[in-house]
């Protein structure tokens, strides 16, 4: 009985993971572009990126999710709730990822760009070969935090009827009258997922860490 119970919720895990796997990379891509616009774009491009970030981070994710959902599964574009929800979460996350990457790009420092230009690299080459590889390393720890937020926020697509972990827990709670067990199991699965993601990224940070001081 308990194992059946658990496996029903567990089936939602693949949906949760899938939503995250769409939302996180999409958010990374948009966030990186925006961070580059912010740091290296001209005045107006940079302003535009800043306003985007300000607005997206100033509205509750659930409200944005509904707005984007109705845009993405409306008359013009008609995506399934899964895709509309995942893409919306990616767009919401992009503003936070932009902030992380913008800080990391800035932390790399103006001098690295100067040195790259001095050997004859174009701006784009300098960004690609010199700035981004260093910024990504700096961004891993705060990005790990954002990854766990997206993982947990993926539960918001529950509101669109996507059968992820939380929605299944809700259904079980209603049919079995065992809310503690149902939501407890959901919480445990989330915790394990977040833990794995954070550990994985810690390892990545460790692996890509640059050697410091002289041995």
């Amino acid at each position: 009985m308990v194992s059946q119970f658990f496996s029903y919720i567990l089936q939602g895990t693949s949906v949760t993971v899938a939503v995250t796997l769409v939302a996180l990379p999409l958010g990374l891509l948009i966030g990186l572009l925006l961070a580059l616009f912010y740091n290296y774009g001209g005045f107006w491009v940079s302003r535009l990126a800043a306003v985007y970030s300000l607005v997206m981070r100033g509205v509750p994710p659930i409200a944005l999710l509904f707005i984007l959902y109705f845009l993405l599964s409306g008359r013009l574009i008609n995506l399934s709730p899964f895709w509309a929800g995942s893409i919306s979460l990616g767009i919401i996350s992009s503003a936070y990822q932009m902030e992380i990457l913008r800080g990391a790009l800035q932390a790399v420092g103006e001098g690295q760009m100067t040195a790259a230009r001095a050997v004859g690299m174009s701006r784009l080459q300098a960004i690609r070969y010199i700035i981004i590889p260093q910024a990504i390393r700096l961004a891993i720890p705060p990005w790990s935090n954002e990854a766990s937020i997206v993982l947990k926020d993926s539960s918001l697509v529950y509101a669109l009827g996507v059968p992820e972990i939380l929605r299944r827990a809700q259904q079980l709670s209603a049919t079995t009258q065992q809310p503690f067990l149902a939501f407890g199991a959901a919480a445990l699965i989330y915790f394990i997922l977040v833990f794995l993601v954070n550990r994985g990224l810690d390892l990545l940070a460790e692996k890509t860490k640059l050697p410091s001081a002289t041995a």
Binding site: T114, A118, V119, G120, M121, Q125, L210, S212, A213
Partner: protein, 254 residues
């Protein structure tokens, strides 16, 4: 007409930041193989001048010619010009995520599009030139300041530049590390590399320079051979500056 014996020629360069005239009407002729040392008080525009010469900073007016070609002309690809002008910075500015070898190679592979193996050989040769072959796989953080600066010199040399610009290459170094960097520069001068060196190292200026330029407040006050400048300075300001500098650095240099 442009005199072809000049490898680098600057005509009436003017640079203005906002309301501040950094330098005005600065002209400079550099012969092939010449070592020029630029001295002058800080804030005088020496760094800005070097940055303008390799087009890292735009000028307000004036022309620069490299091997007789105007590089300040409309439509000149500044990235290509910079490949031909090496630059060494006060704070080294090595690429932190790359080893010494990687630092020297990246301009060859990404800018010159040289095949990896050929680039590696060339980079190793340049590291050997600055005496750091045994540090090829060290990251900048694992190198001393003097070693980092020598890698930075190798990185610039790898591009086979026509001219090397040095902006106070030893100012950020502990005194005991200055010699190894000056040694490499001296060797380059002997090999007839064309060099423009901003420095406070008067020993180096006296021994290595073909010509010394004294700059102050955005103007070239005086220039001449080391003997002329050190023994018979024409301007009171030059004498004053040399006096001050030998007070500050004189003891250290010996």
């Amino acid at each position: 007409m442009i005199n072809p014996t000049y490898i680098l020629q600057a005509k009436n360069l003017t640079k203005i930041y906002g309301e501040n005239v950094i330098f005005q009407d600065v002209s400079l002729d550099v012969h092939k193989g010449e070592t020029i040392v630029i001295i002058g008080p800080s804030g005088t525009g020496k760094s800005t001048l070097l940055r303008c010469l390799n087009l890292l900073t735009p000028l307000n007016s004036g022309q620069i010619f490299l091997e007789g070609q105007e590089i300040t002309a409309q439509g000149v690809d500044a990235d290509q010009v910079r490949q031909k002008i090496g630059m060494v910075f006060q704070n080294f500015l090595l690429f932190n995520h790359l080893t010494a070898l990687g630092n020297v190679m990246i301009g060859l592979t990404k800018v010159k599009k040289m095949p990896t193996e050929k680039a590696r050989q060339k980079a190793l040769y340049e590291l050997e030139r600055v005496g750091l072959l045994d540090r090829a796989d060290h990251y900048p953080a694992q190198l001393s300041g003097g070693q980092q600066q020598r890698v930075a010199i190798a990185r610039a040399l790898a591009m086979d530049p026509l001219v090397m610009l040095f902006d106070e290459p030893t100012s950020a170094l502990d005194p005991e590390l200055i010699g190894e960097v000056l040694g490499v520069m001296e060797q380059l001068a002997r090999e007839h590399m064309t060099m423009l060196v901003v420095t406070h190292e008067m020993g180096f200026a006296r021994e290595v320079a073909d010509r010394i330029i004294f700059m102050e407040k955005g103007r070239i006050v005086e220039q001449g051979s080391p003997e002329d400048l050190f023994e018979r300075p024409q301007h009171a300001r030059t004498r004053e500056f040399l006096g001050k500098i030998s007070e500050l650095y004189g003891k250290k240099a010996k």
